[in-house]
């Protein structure tokens, strides 16, 4: 399931000088998480809730480092008020969000937040970019990283459920 595009995204994060990778695990991020832990130039930070990562990224930026925050779409709901931190302080934020509840979903509990994810991000002021095809993933993330860190704005890249591959539900 670890396709080549996940490795390209990781290399893109390296090239963008990302030094801290914070995450609440999602199966769709498994490869990135593995690579982050294995890379001596990266600090992988496992979070108890996604909003911790928004605050961590702000601290990293204050200290002169760049962070990326990995989560699934349900985690976007956990971030909402903390997004006022990069918004009020005009700080960058780079979020990579694996989408659930939008395509081939077997778990109805994923649907409400999956459906709300782009709207919630946009309403809080986060710029939203979306990847549908594997060949676009690295380039979209590279563009989002430049946008986030050079224009100092919060950006989320939504990795579509179709791209990730619908989770197979075995009863």
């Amino acid at each position: 399931m670890a396709g080549a595009w996940q490795d390209e995204v990781f290399e893109t994060l390296r090239r963008a000088a990302i030094r801290q990778i914070a995450y609440v695990p999602d199966a769709g991020h498994a490869r990135l998480i593995e690579r982050a832990h294995a890379d001596p130039d990266m600090r992988a930070v496992v979070l108890t809730t996604e909003e911790e990562g928004v605050a961590l990224a702000a601290g990293a930026w204050l200290g002169g480092q760049r962070a990326a925050l990995l989560m699934q779409s349900s985690g976007v709901g956990n971030c909402v008020n903390m997004l006022s931190l990069p918004m009020s302080c005009r700080m960058p934020l780079l979020m990579l969000v694996t989408m659930r509840g939008e395509w081939g979903e077997f778990n109805p509990w994923q649907v409400p937040m999956g459906n709300a994810t782009p709207g919630v991000l946009e309403r809080t002021g986060v710029l939203v970019r979306r990847v549908e095809r594997a060949e676009d993933a690295a380039e979209t993330v590279a563009g989002a990283a430049t946008l986030a860190f050079d224009s100092t704005v919060p950006v989320a890249v939504l990795l579509s459920q179709r791209l990730i591959g619908a989770k197979v539900w075995v009863r």
Binding site: L47, E51, L62
Partner: protein, 192 residues
């Protein structure tokens, strides 16, 4: 639970005396006003919101600046909203990060409602349970000098029991972009 009557302003004035190049993150509300009363400075990042995020901002900063000391100064209510940060920080174990919680057993800013610590929740025990190895609770004025020193050399989690009385507001700039840019300029130089 009864709280000893440490005065918050005096306690924070002692803890932040001669800050040097200490990087300070202060939680929203009264801890922000206390840090500012001790002396507004670019290397104070004092929050006006982001409740529950102070300790995690400290973690990101401490990981980015391993050669500098970072102190997070926050309230019991703010810490309670982000308790998971105690677990996350303990896993990362940055040697240069200390957290001091000003525990008045109250949500001061919103009308002094009792917080969980007023009902016996022990933040020091939570930190210990999360894996923090250096943990202390301070209740006496005579302990503050020692605490000041420890906060600048150890990865310490400290609960400072303060009286519930509020102190007059002493406020830093409200503009988060200004707070962010002056902090980075002081730490990293104006090119950044």
């Amino acid at each position: 639970m009864t709280h000893d009557a440490l005065d918050r302003r005096q306690a924070v004035a002692t803890l932040l005396r001669d800050p040097g190049d200490l990087l300070v993150v202060a939680g929203l509300g009264a801890p922000n006003w206390d840090a500012t009363a001790a002396g507004d400075r670019p290397l104070n990042f004092c929050l006006w919101g982001a409740m529950g995020g102070a300790a995690m901002i400290g973690l990101g900063l401490a990981l980015a600046q391993p050669a500098r000391r970072v102190l997070v100064l926050t309230g019991d209510g703010e810490m309670l909203m982000g308790l998971g940060a105690l677990a996350t920080i303990a896993v990362q174990a940055p040697p240069n990060l200390a957290v001091a919680v000003l525990d008045n057993g109250r949500y001061g800013e919103t009308g002094s409602q009792h917080s969980h610590t007023a009902h016996g929740v022990d933040l020091a025990a939570v930190a210990r349970g999360c894996g923090w190895r250096a943990v202390c609770t301070v209740t006496q004025a005579a302990e503050l000098e020692g605490l000041r020193a420890r906060l600048r050399q150890e990865p310490l989690f400290a609960v400072v029991r303060i009286a519930p009385e509020e102190a007059p507001r002493v406020m830093p700039p409200r503009d988060g972009a200004l707070l962010h840019h002056r902090f980075r300029a002081a730490l990293l130089g104006s090119e950044n």
